[in-house]
Structures are given as C-alpha cells and as structure tokens.
Amino acid sequence: MSDDPKAPGSLGRRRLLDGALAVGACGAAGAVAVPAVRFATPPSEGGAGTSVTVRREEVLSEGAKLVFVGAEPVLVVALSGGELRALGARCTHLGCTVGLDRASGELRCGCHGGRFGLDGRVLSGPPPAPLAQYAVTARDGLLVVEGRRPWRG
C-alpha cells in the first residue's frame, strides 16, 4: 500500500519531502534575515574631516589639547623640548580616550589602567600597541593636524 509509512518507497519520499521543506524554510528565513541585517548595518561614511587646526599656545599652556579629526579624538601634546606631537587618543586596548596625567607627565587610560609615554609608547598595562601618530605642520601660526594616514610607533 502506498500510504503505509513503513513501505520503503514511502520512507524515502518522506525524507526527500522533509529535506525539501527544510531547505525551503532555510531559504525563506535567509531571504528575510539578509536584507534585515543589511538594513541594520549603517552605510559607511566617507572620510569626513581630514584635518583640523589648533593654536600652539593652547597646547603649550595646558600641556595637551584634545581635538577631533572627524570622529577621531587626537591629543596634541608638548614634549619637554617644546616639540609637538599629535597622538591618536583612542586607547589601543579597547578604545577609551586617554588623557594627560599632569602629575606624572604620562598619558593614562582610566578604563583598565593603561599608561603611555608622551611619544605614544606603551609604558605598562593591557594596551597591546603604541598610540597612532598624526602628522602636525605649522601653517600661518596655527598647527594643522593631518587626519590622513596616521602611523604607529
């Protein structure tokens, strides 16, 4: 009898049908999920804000000045010889913004206690890499921090 579930032909057909159903269900779920995830993923933004200016006196008087190149926080610091550096202020551990600790003259990340020198090197703590460096140039009495192509080390 054809509708006897124990008949070998019927079992094979049932497996096939089950498989087809499973594949169909997965396909349908994917057809919903993929556009949903694509929708939820924000479109990438172009490189907004490629450079920013800051006054030299501001940096010298406070020892460090936080500026933003686009959405990236950059800390312009004055080394002891008067040399200026622009360091990416995003901690290389998990991305907290580092700040100058005036008492010790180092950069500190309060989130997990990372310490960096004013040249961006890791002194201690969990950060695995030195801070990013940005090019600084003087133009018309102002400092220009170039957001393009930061480097490490």
Binding site: P42, A89, C96, P126
Partner: protein, 340 residues
Amino acid sequence: MERVSQPGFLAERYPVEPLLRRLREARVDPAGAALGALGLLVVALLGLELATGALLALYYRPEREGARASVQFVVTRVEYGELVRSLHGYGAHALLLALLALLGGVLAAARHRKPHEVAWSALVLVWFAAVAQAFTGSLLPWSARSALDAAVASGAVERVPVAGSALRALVFGPAGGTELVRLYGLHVGALPALGTLCLLALCLHVGGRLVGEGTAEAERVWPTLALRGAALGCFAFAVLLALASRRPLPLGAAPSLGAAASQAVAPSWFLAPLDLLLRRAPARVLGLPGATVVVVLCLLGVLGALALPAIDRRGGRLGQVLGLAVLALSLGVMGLAILR
C-alpha cells in the same frame, strides 16, 4: 431547592478551570518549591522593570545631547520621577541577583540535566539578556561613566574575531554619536523580546511538568508555593521602595568633551569579572592582543554555559561542578566590586 451554579462571565470565555484544578492538586518536592519561589520573584521583578521602564520611556530622549537632560528632567521636575527612576535602577540589580540565585539553585539541585536541558539554556539566555539589559540601561543617561563604558563595550565587540567590525556597526551604529538610538532600541525592543521568549519557554516547561507530575508528596503549588512567591515579591518590593526613597540613584557627572579617562573608572558590579580579566590579561597572548583572547574566552564561556547539560550527560557531575565553581568565583569578584 438545589441551586445549579452558573459559570461566571470570565469562566465561560476563558475555560481555565480544569487547568486551575490540576494546579491545585499539583505538588512539588522541596527543592522544586524553593526554585519555584525564586522564579516567581524573578517574574515579579520583571513586572516592576516593565512598569517603571514604560513610565521612564515617556520622557527619555536617546541622543547624546538630550539624554542626560531628559533624565535630569524626570528626576527634578516630574512627580515621583526620582522614585520611579531609582526603582527601575535598583530593580535591575535585584533582578540580576535573583537570577544568579536561581542559576545557582538550579545547578546545585542538578535540575539542568535531562529533561530540563532546554529550560536551562533558556534560563542562561535570560541571564545574559538581563546583563545586557542592565548594561545598556546604565549607558542610557549618558553620563561621563556611560560614555567610557560605551567606548569599552564597542572596543570589546570589535575584538570578536571575523565579525567584529560588522557587529560593532550593527550594535553601535555609524560613527558620529548616534549609538544611543541603537542602545535604546536594544533596551526596549530586542532584549526584552528575547528575554520574554525564553521566559515563555521556561514557564511552559515548568507548567507542563507541574500538571503532569502532580502526584509527588511534599508541597502544594497552590496556595503554598504561590503564597511564598508572593511574600518574596512583596519583601523585595518593600526593600527596593525603601532603597529608592532613602537613597535615590545619582545621575552621574556629565561627560566632558571626548570623555578622557585619565582617572580610574570602576565597572558595574555585574561586569566585574569581565573587567578583571580585561585588566589583568597580558597585552599579548601567543601573538594576539590580550583583549581578543579574553573576548574569545568569554564567547566560549557563553556557549559552554548554554551547553552545560551536554557536558553532564550520563550522570557525570563535571558540568555541575564547573558551573558552580565559575558562579562562586564570579560572585566573589562581584562582591568585592560592590564592597569597593
């Protein structure tokens, strides 16, 4: 003359009488009764969170500039605003504590094994949803602390191998300070939905077993267990009310520009174990950044917790012992964080 009792208006439309009759006959063993009371406490606390959360949502604005001001408005201008906000905040902590107790109880009574595996996984998911809920909730007022926590969280999500950046974009949105919209969406939409679904699975499991197993000796479900749960809920509510009115939750400092973190920040107590790992892991492990290794270990831990019943098949106790040990360790770290 004999009076024929007429079914009431509700009983006619909702014929739950047979179910209630079974419930009245149902009995559970002492361990089941204790877990049941805790479960009822969890449900009561969820109700409190839902009610206070719905009220707070009337005023909240999910944007960096407006969030803190809107919470401040609730606290300073809205009648009972401070009380409702504090109840919501303290209630979340109480919910986490109750869930921890429930997880520990289930493990100690070995109720994670067959035939409770799916229910166990659902409970574990409820726990993680509750932690995510408490964490996103702590970010919503966008205080200085929230801004740092958000930075760390987005950094940690980015460390997930392969899918990190995509996941970060999905949870925190595009760069440019719109993360609160997504976090708020998670807090009031996706996470409660996940929690509710899992809770439903749990309730079906427990309810089905009660009706089916109503013959054991020991305690009655109705009214003994129900009353006990209600008493526990009332006690918790009284404590929360006292806390919320005597020590309202502070708003936290406003974030400074860029939220530089040269001062040390302490994590919320329920994240203390993760924070400890992130702080103490060496900068590099086997050539990989320590944070990446910690994040991978945590993901494996989540999978392990979900699949604990599979480890304990055939009467083994490895999973149970492991689970209890991890729980006890975490509790210790969390306790220290609270004391500090």
